[in-house]
């Protein structure tokens, strides 16, 4: 099991190295195959480890393994440590499984790209980084994986290097994530100072010994990292821009895995967070605000990928609410189903984009239901799953999560209400997308430029991977139907026991309400966007508020970007010019001047040199005499 886990971790890294060193000796498609094979290997070995873990008693399902010690500072040691327990196995399966499907899809999607090898090298590197993050047994390795996924995100968002928008988006993502990394690092410093260790076991054992402001700062710092990575308010502005990357990147990194790292952290480090219930409630609150704001903004987006991006933001908001209110297994279950249907939606959108030769603006789409029927079908499955309609997967994961909030007091009820409103919005924006893109008459643009995917190898690969995801999105939720049958909760219990449990009645009422609201949203979307029977009032101010994404970007521009550029310009003018360049220039000028003066001593006249000799000799003799006397 330990060996299998190590192979899971290092197989994608091996692919990256192989593709990088292979250079142009491997064809572009071979690079794709290498990456796919590596991630498949990861999934298979993760499965092996999973089954071996199941053979053990629940209390014994926690193993760590250290590969080598790479940092020693006094008493403090850090090794490359992985932890194999239910939570990490769960994440390993999700990451490698969905990752495998997405990488296989991108063999078809990215076919023919000039820099295909670079893409697959980066994708494999990302899978490795994400696995490092979820398999780490040490806070430092967690931070290492955290940073590495941020790096891969930067590399992949900026994959289309010639597009300045892509470069800007990559930088934005990286810088906002760096903020989260910084708060995390500060939290780690505090932990290290108080406890002397960063290894999970040691930290969890001693964490209740830290009191007062220290533990609050630690939780806050860790939450900062989670909020940045998972694109929750207030650090969410990078995620929509990250859609500049290729669609498989959006699917893998910005839907299924990387952005869920924040949720994973809230669940994994729950012993730390449970010391500060206030911070946990803050996390839940931020999640609730995010799911409402993102849902609203998604209603006015015209780019198909951005709608799905805001949907991701909202769904992760749900997960934050769940994890913040200690409903850990539910949050993880929703993470899994969300990975399925969100990846499905993104990859399906990718098929649409490819068919329209790169067009992503929904206003130029329409009527594609007739021309791309199979794509329409899978997108419909994805959207229904997203809206939480039974018997698709979203229903089984989202509703228990909402229901359990009723067990958490007044604040929980408030969050429950927000979640229900969010469900309505989800149905609305999801089916707005479906009806605009696939319903109605084909737009003139679609008529002209539609290029139906045929049965070429790339198209087939895109088709079968999307098909598998559609099946998973449809039936993936059947693995847990609380409160009757809860294998996931039981599996995760030793590591992340839920703090709140809904009663049967609460479950029932929540499900009924949620499904009803979801259907209401769908019906409203149908009325507005499909048949045009209802005209939506569009007050200009509200419209602008939503289109400007609640002015977050503008606020950050004024608060951070402008002062920073002003300081930089001032520094160039007053510090770099006169002090740094000036001093060097003065130094060289001065040296040259000195040299010129000195060369004047060399007159070339014999007599002067002889005089210098004689005079020097006389002087020396004088000195000798003086010393003697």
């Amino acid at each position: 099991m330990i060996a299998a886990s190590w192979i899971t971790l290092f197989a994608p890294l091996g692919a990256t190295v192989l593709i990088t060193l292979g250079g142009t000796w491997i064809t572009r498609r071979q690079a794709g195959y290498i990456a796919t094979l590596a991630v498949l290997t990861s999934f298979v070995t993760a499965l092996v480890a999973f089954f071996e873990l199941l053979n053990e008693q629940p209390e014994e399902r926690s193993h760590t393994s250290v590969l080598w010690t790479w940092l020693t500072a006094g008493d403090f040691q850090v090794g490359l440590r992985i932890l194999v327990d239910p939570l990490s196995i769960f994440m390993m399966l999700v990451v490698s499984g969905v990752g495998f499907l997405i990488v296989a899809y991108s063999v078809g999607y990215m076919d023919g790209e000039d820099e295909e090898r670079r893409f697959f090298a980066y994708m494999s590197l990302f899978v490795f980084s994400m696995l490092l993050l979820v398999q780490s047994g040490d806070l430092l390795i967690l931070l290492g994986g955290w940073g590495l996924v941020g790096l891969c995100s930067y590399l992949l968002i900026g994959y289309y290097q010639e597009r300045p928008e892509a470069i800007a988006a990559a930088k934005k993502a990286f810088i906002m994530n760096a903020f989260g990394d910084a708060t995390m690092a500060l939290a780690l410093f505090l932990v290290l100072q108080r406890l002397g260790t960063l290894e999970y076991g040691g930290v969890f054992a001693g964490i209740d010994g830290i009191g007062g402001w220290a533990i609050t700062l630690i939780s806050l710092g860790l939450l900062g990292g989670a909020v940045a990575k998972s694109a929750q308010i207030p650090l969410q502005t990078w995620l929509p821009d990250a859609m500049e990357g290729p669609t498989p990147v959006s699917a893998l990194i910005h839907a299924a895995t990387m952005v869920t790292a924040g949720v994973y952290m809230l669940v994994r480090l729950n012993p730390i967070f449970e010391q500060t219930p206030g911070i946990q409630k803050l996390a839940a609150g931020l999640g609730a605000i995010t799911l409402l704001v993102a849902g609203l903004i998604a209603l006015v987006q015209v780019d198909i990928k951005r709608v799905i991006a805001y949907s991701t933001m909202a769904q992760i908001g749900y997960m934050f609410v769940g994890a913040g209110m200690t409903a850990y297994p539910n949050a993880m279950f929703h993470l899994m189903t969300h990975a399925f249907f969100k990846a499905l939606l993104f990859l399906g959108a990718g098929i649409v984009i490819h068919a329209l030769l790169g067009e992503q603006d929904m206003r130029r789409m329409g009527g594609l239901g007739r021309t791309l029927p199979r794509t329409y079908a899978v997108m419909l499955v994805g959207a229904l799953a997203l809206a939480g309609i039974p018997p698709l997967s979203g229903f089984f994961s989202k509703d228990p999560l909402l229901a359990s909030l009723l067990d958490a007091g007044g604040y929980g009820v408030l969050l429950w209400l927000a979640g229900l409103v969010g469900t309505f919005l989800t149905g609305l924006y999801a089916f707005r997308l479906i009806f605009i893109v696939f319903g109605g008459e084909p737009s003139p643009y679609a008529r002209e430029h539609l290029h139906r995917p045929g049965t070429t190898m790339p198209a087939l690969w895109m088709a079968w991977t999307v098909g598998v995801l559609a099946v998973l999105a449809a039936v993936g939720g059947w693995i847990q139907f609380s409160p009757f049958w809860t294998p996931i909760t039981d599996f995760l219990e030793p590591v992340a026991a839920p703090g709140i449990e809904p009663s049967g009645m609460q479950e029932l009422w929540t499900s009924v309400l949620a499904v009803a609201l979801g259907l209401a949203g769908i019906v409203l979307a149908w009325a507005v966007f499909s048949t045009g029977r209802v005209e939506v009032p569009r007050p200009a101010a509200l419209q602008r508020l939503l289109e400007e994404k609640f002015y977050f970007d503008t606020a950050y521009d004024y608060a951070f970007y402008r002062p920073a550029s002003w300081i930089a310009a001032a520094a160039i003018r007053f510090v770099e010019g006169p002090v740094i360049s000036g001093s060097i220039r003065e130094l060289s000028e001065g040296t040259r001047l000195l040299a010129t003066r000195v060369t004047e001593l060399q007159t070339g006249l014999l007599r002067n040199y002889a005089l210098a000799l004689g005079g020097g000799a006389a002087l020396l003799a004088l000195v000798f005499l003086a010393v003697r006397a």
Binding site: L611, G615, A618, L622, L625
Partner: protein
């Protein structure tokens, strides 16, 4: 009586030495300077004799006055005597500095002598009758200072070869 004679010879030789030295640097015509140097060398030979250095005195007259100065005179004749005023040319600061430097060296040597030797220069060592004779000098040359002897020969050889090379007609390069 003998002492007075020795002193008298010394005074004459010393005055001749210094006077001819001054003459060397004062004449404008290099031919006359060379002749003055010959006189200087002769006076020095006398001083060497007074110091029981017969061999060196003879060598001085033969080699220096006989060969080197003749060479000088040949070259002066070949080059032609461009008479120029002795102290002409050069910056005046150079002149002042030169006089000061020379004076300083002089003062240094005298003072050093006075200070360091105090009474020790009064009595000269006793020397045997063969002191300064060719046999004595030759013996020391070929036993204690054999290396110096050999190296001097090499220096002379190198100088001879160098002289030939410097004096030979070089081929004009094609412009």
């Amino acid at each position: 009586m003998g002492n007075v004679l020795v002193w008298a010879i010394w005074v004459v030789a010393a005055v001749a030495c210094l006077g001819s030295g001054l003459a060397v640097i004062s004449f404008s015509n290099p031919f006359f300077s060379a002749l003055a140097l010959i006189a200087n060398l002769a006076a020095l030979a006398v001083l060497y004799l007074l110091l029981s250095a017969e061999f060196v005195a003879a060598a001085q007259v033969l080699v220096y006055a006989g060969a080197v100065m003749v060479m000088f005179l040949f070259v002066i004749a070949y080059v032609g005597s461009h008479a120029d005023s002795p102290l002409a040319g050069g910056p005046s600061s150079q002149r002042l500095a030169a006089i000061i430097a020379a004076g300083a060296i002089l003062v240094n040597v005298v003072v050093a002598l006075a200070l360091t030797t105090s009474g020790r220069l009064e009595s000269a060592a006793d020397t045997g009758p063969s002191f300064g004779s060719p046999s004595d000098v030759g013996e020391v040359f070929l036993t204690n200072h054999l290396l110096a002897f050999e190296i001097t020969s090499i220096v002379l050889l190198v100088a001879a070869v160098g002289g030939v090379i410097l004096g030979s007609e070089r081929e004009r390069r094609e412009p």
